[in-house]
Symmetry: C2
Subunit: 342 residues, 2 copies
């Protein structure tokens, strides 16, 4: 049986959910991929655990102080890194040094946090390419919602003309509250925060930066663009007025915070802002935790996907979908592709 | 440059659209896959054309009588067969002998017509597996709507609990007409036929057999089930009454002809019949030529896809998506998977 060693850097809710789901699926990996998956290291910012024979779920509750950082992960002998730390697109920290370390050594990487990819995506993509390493990011590019999957797999061969994405749950909750319960922005925000559906500092969501980050990942990794945050026009929902809400209601329109990519003459333009949809449009009914993408191509018309997984499980499942694609590719590599590929 | 020879059996609207799109994308195949694609043979039921150097678009208007059948395709030296003939799920003809011939020789096959796959899917799947040939069917399993793609790629690793599919355009048009324009079934049918959106004999659509056929393909090729038409409970829309329509309207529900797969204890149950959706459900807004699928899994919750490509181009594009997946797999096979796989 082929032993595959996995390490997880970043061990908050999503990192832990990923570890637990990976361990729960070990028999599947043996049966479907002929692979003995071992979780050889996990770490947060200041503590971690490592065991070359594989960590079991029962040992993950208590980490050891001091075991952290790219050198710690490197020493674990992991073949694949899952990066699930906090996300800061202005610095790329703390994920960037982990990813540089893993990819430089030719190890495959699965990225869940957006920060490093938004900050240094094209650099990391080039690094992976030069080292023959795979770099996957389903967990970062809207998690349970298939986005890059559709571009790379389901729409393969088609030319993308436009992409619209409803990619942020917090702004869905806020706009729902403003439209359906007549709350102003501040009251809606206070209620959504009280319900646990918005951060203490919600500006990353409300001002559109989270949507912009996901849009950059979709453009750079799904369409081979080279966008940075400076290339985007980003507007949020913080300046929506009672007058706007009333007008949309009167016209039978549903407002959503939408990231839009348009392509013309080889160039990709990206914007984030409010778009409104008539109620006959499926996107008008994407609310709460749900996310959606509409991709318009030359030959397949409009393709919509809507995802509604529950966090952190759905994000863990997105990252482990990447893991299975890596296992399939590794198997093809090892055997020279003998036998039938799915 | 690696020469890849393609033959198309079945040369009506979809076969011709596939040939033209393939020829239009030849430079893409060279650039992305390093493959020199040649259309070496096409045939309908009684005539065809072959040229080992590759047919160009201008030659496809006039076929030569007598050039047809599995032996004709076999003699063309094609590496990959695209089967795009008429579809009869009760006999599997005329596609079945073409597919048996190609797969038996270890050639990859891309299937657009549902008949042979519904009739003999598990046999063809086993034949492909035993010969190391790839068997792809995006064009048959709802064309521009990604269905098996989602199961095999985007939801990889998740356990499927339920699938609902709105898979037939004719019944969408009929139900739209009955709900929105107050037509009875017979009047709606006459108008939809006059508009060219229903066959002269529409029972394959209205009685649910087309939806059932697609559902069987999704179950057998996406979930490794072994269903035949006899395993399904199939109800159509032909007995919908004015009273039903009025009740749905009053309750704010949208009726759709839906194929449903449920899985429990390892068994897959399949039914076709009318389901109704509240207007807050995106599936309520899938009408006309649009198709949709909702897949519920253990870890990713609900994933919806909605497709709205225009025929025959969208179906051709679905078949040629399969072609690119085959080219990618062949490249991995040929090089032993050196370099980075997407």
């Amino acid at each position: 049986m082929n032993v595959v060693r996995v390490a997880i850097a970043g061990f908050g809710g999503v990192g832990r959910a990923t570890a637990n789901l990976l361990l729960a699926r070990r028999s599947r990996y043996r049966q479907v991929h002929g692979a003995d998956l071992r979780l050889v290291a996990v770490c947060g910012s200041r503590s971690g655990l490592a065991d070359a024979d594989g960590l079991e779920a029962g040992r993950l509750d208590v980490l050891e102080p001091g075991l952290s950082g790219p050198a710690f992960i490197e020493a674990s002998g992991a073949d694949i890194l899952i990066e699930a730390g906090p996300s800061d697109f202005r610095t790329g920290a703390p994920g960037l040094p982990y990813l540089r370390s893993a990819l430089s050594a030719g190890r495959d990487a699965i990225v869940i946090s957006k920060g490093a990819l938004v900050h240094s995506g094209p650099e990391l993509r080039a690094l992976a390419g030069s080292k023959g390493a795979m770099l996957k990011l389903s967990g970062a590019a809207a998690a349970a919602l298939p986005t890059i999957d559709l571009l790379e797999h389901s729409l393969k061969g088609c030319e993308v003309l436009e992409i619209e994405g409803i990619l942020n749950a917090t702004t869905n909750y806020l706009l729902d509250s403003m439209m359906n319960r007549n709350h102003g922005f501040d009251e809606a925000l206070a209620r959504v925060q009280a319900g646990g559906f918005a951060e203490a500092d919600p500006r990353n969501d409300t001002e559109g930066w989270d949507t912009a980050s996901k849009l950059i990942l979709i453009a750079n990794f799904g369409l081979d663009a080279v966008l940075t945050m400076d290339d985007l026009v980003v507007e949020g929902i913080q300046s929506v007025t009672a007058h706007d809400i009333e007008a949309w209601r009167r016209q039978g329109l549903a407002p959503k915070l939408v990231g839009t990519l348009t392509r013309a003459d080889g160039a990709t333009r990206a914007t984030v802002g409010i778009r409104t949809y008539p109620l006959s449009d499926p996107l008008a009914h994407v609310s709460g935790k749900n996310k959606a993408i509409r991709i318009t191509t030359d030959a397949m018309g409009e393709t919509i996907a809507i995802g509604s997984g529950t966090e952190p499980l759905a994000t863990a499942a997105a990252a482990l979908k990447d893991l299975e694609h890596i296992l399939t590719a590794r198997a093809a590599r090892a055997t020279g592709g003998q036998g039938r590929q799915e």
